[in-house]
């Protein structure tokens, strides 16, 4: 899934003009040659090291890149979370399970990038959007498949034989990265670099391979194989809601060179593949509880990172999606935040209601009380406002804005 937040294909008209396989895929939503999960076998074993000169060169550069990423202050330092994810790799990593590394970086976008030397970078934006362990493990399985099937070096060699604009992008990524003394591993450029790498490395076929193998790895590890299709389904729905809020249509041309299958076609293929690997009578688990326990600590931060971007449609979708497992104070609070930041006519009332409902839950964060108090104060309900603000100060006496809130209470 190292394909960027949205991997849309070419738009329909272009596809139909070009004709052929692509057009068929676009029209029916199903790739005419679905890769069979049963055909996907690992091409590498444990402790793999490259032999060919060009692969060795690529490996060496990537080692440098990994050094930079590992040393970046954008990486989330949470040993418990790291060991949880290592545990997931162990289940779906196949022969390379012990060789994998995962770096979780604090960037609020939906993305994951697999590097050819066996390490993956997962953005916190992706982690936020995963509802359960099966979905997260599905992402890991997909990335693992890119590595197990040696996609990077295959695509790299494939691209070399074509004289096309991708080569320029490869060059610009390398040279521009070097131009200001910034290593290609610098996470500041990673979002772009990840996109470039993904554009270069993974064409439609390789993405389909990773989907097919990922589904198989997921099922073999005892997870619900439909989880991977769900992830795409969620992303599409989120984008639709985001675009709807901004009164526009969901963008279909994000992936500049259209090398990826559309999310719709991937979803369709994934559903078929999932059915294929599902063995009757076996109980497949989504493992929601263990997932929630593992990410419980970081989830408030990730919700915060997302909501403060003020993309109301996307944030609303995410909150509602997570709330399928049950509403709580945290989710109601962020609902209020979404409205407060959106601030259209009537949103002040909605936000006030959101905070008022959040504080009814035992897990309401202290911030909910402060905003509840401010909303009450603006509505002229002074006594209630005072009570709410006092409650805030009681819960967080050393809050950074305590001085200001105390003054609000006095005046």
């Amino acid at each position: 899934m190292s394909c960027g937040q949205v991997s849309n294909g070419l738009d329909r008209r272009t596809l139909l003009a070009a004709g052929g396989v692509l057009a068929a895929a676009g029209a029916t939503g199903v790739a005419s040659a679905r890769i069979l999960p049963s055909a996907m076998v690992p091409l590498i074993g444990p402790g793999y090291r490259p032999v060919d000169a060009d692969e060795r060169g690529m490996w060496q550069q990537m080692t440098r890149v990994e050094e930079e990423i590992a040393g970046s202050n954008l990486v989330v330092q949470d040993p418990a979370l790291a060991s949880y994810m290592q545990g997931l790799i162990a289940k779906v990593g196949g022969p390379a399970a012990k060789d994998f590394r995962i770096y979780l970086v604090r960037i609020p976008d939906f993305n994951a990038v697999m590097f050819p030397t066996g390490f993956a970078v997962i953005f916190t934006g992706l982690l936020l959007r995963m509802r359960n362990e099966a979905q997260l493990t599905g992402v890991i399985a997909h990335e693992a498949a890119h590595f197990l099937r040696k996609h990077q070096i295959r695509q790299y060699r494939d691209t070399r034989t074509k004289s096309d604009v991708f080569a320029v992008l490869a060059m610009s990524a390398g040279i521009a990265g070097g131009a200001a003394g910034v290593n290609t591993g610098d996470l500041a450029q990673l979002g772009q670099l990840g996109t470039i790498l993904s554009l270069l490395r993974y064409n439609r076929v390789l993405e389909a391979e990773a989907d097919a193998m990922g589904v198989r790895l997921l099922a073999e590890a005892g997870y619900d194989p439909r989880a991977m299709a769900e992830t795409w389904q969620q992303l599409i729905a989120e984008e639709k809601l985001s675009a709807k809020y901004r009164r526009k249509r969901r963008r279909r041309d994000i992936s500049l060179f259209g090398t990826h299958p559309t999310p719709e076609s991937r979803m369709a293929d994934l559903r078929i593949s999932a059915a294929e690997v599902t063995r009757p009578g076996v109980f497949y688990d989504a493992r929601r509880a263990s997932y929630l326990a593992a990410i419980g600590k970081i989830r408030p931060t990730l919700l915060d990172d997302q909501v403060k971007l003020n993309d109301p449609g996307a944030s609303q979708y995410i909150v509602n999606n997570l709330a399928q497992d049950g509403w709580n104070g945290l989710l109601r609070f962020h609902e209020g935040e979404i409205w407060r930041l959106r601030n259209r006519a009537g949103d002040d009332v909605r936000a006030a209601q959101g905070y008022a409902s959040a504080v009814l839950y035992p897990d309401a964060p202290a911030d909910a009380w402060r905003w509840h108090g401010i909303m009450l104060s603006k509505a002229g309900r002074r006594t209630e406002a005072r009570a709410a603000l006092s409650r805030y100060l009681m819960m967080a006496p050393n809050a950074p804005d305590a001085a200001f809130v105390r003054q609000m209470l006095v005046s």
């Binding site: 954008l74 604090r106 675009a243 403060k308 003020n310 001085a403």
Partner: protein
């Protein structure tokens, strides 16, 4: 204001012509986007505020399509390292940066009935949406008089996607329904401390003229 570091710089660079290769490089590119501010009282923003800097500063020229008339940016060592921004009389319903209705992520509009926490939340969103900020921490929010009104002082720090921690302080107040604010944002290592005295002097000297 133009985005704090990345976008503003990026847009500035896009207006530069490619180097013609005629020796000398540097100043052959064209006119700099910076003009000199002398160490004496000067108007900022839309002219409704006057401040007196204790030493010379560099004023960033407005960029077409990006600039907001009520906002002005200064820098001492370049926007990647430090900057002081002035917001003068921003009206209710306006934003600190130019954005289109169709942008996915948007900086919230200012509203005249905003409390200080709402104004600071607006600033935080500005950094996250436009400034490439991935982590933002409020260090303090306290009352502070400004322009003769009951204003606020906001202290914060943030980690940006270039891996640099930056620190900031903003002092502001809503006057007659309009926002007045002076904000310092600089690299946490060395540059914030070295520009803070100037910021405080400028803030104390600030007076509203209309």
């Amino acid at each position: 204001m133009k985005s704090v570091h990345g976008l503003g710089v990026a847009l500035a660079l896009m207006t530069l012509p490619a180097c013609s290769g005629v020796g000398g490089g540097g100043s052959g590119f064209g006119i700099s986007n910076y003009t000199l501010i002398r160490a004496r009282e000067t108007s900022v923003g839309n002219g409704s505020l006057r401040v007196t800097p204790p030493r010379e500063w560099n004023r960033q020229r407005g960029q077409l399509f990006v600039d907001i008339r009520e906002v002005e940016d200064w820098t001492q060592n370049g926007p990647l390292l430090d900057g002081i921004s002035f917001v003068t009389g921003l009206k209710s319903g306006d934003t600190l940066v130019r954005q289109t209705r169709r942008d996915d992520r948007q900086v919230p509009k200012f509203r005249s009935n905003m409390t200080a926490p709402e104004i600071t939340a607006m600033l935080e969103s500005l950094f996250r949406v436009r400034g490439g900020t991935v982590d933002f921490k409020t260090l303090g929010l306290a009352p502070r008089p400004f322009l003769g009104q009951a204003g606020f002082q906001f202290d914060y720090e943030h980690l940006d996607s270039d891996e640099v921690w930056r620190r900031g302080r903003a002092v502001g107040a809503t006057v007659d329904g309009r926002l007045y604010l002076i904000l310092l944002d600089a690299a946490r290592a060395h540059y914030f401390d070295s520009t803070l005295p100037d910021f405080e002097a400028i803030t104390f000297s600030a007076r509203k003229v209309r």
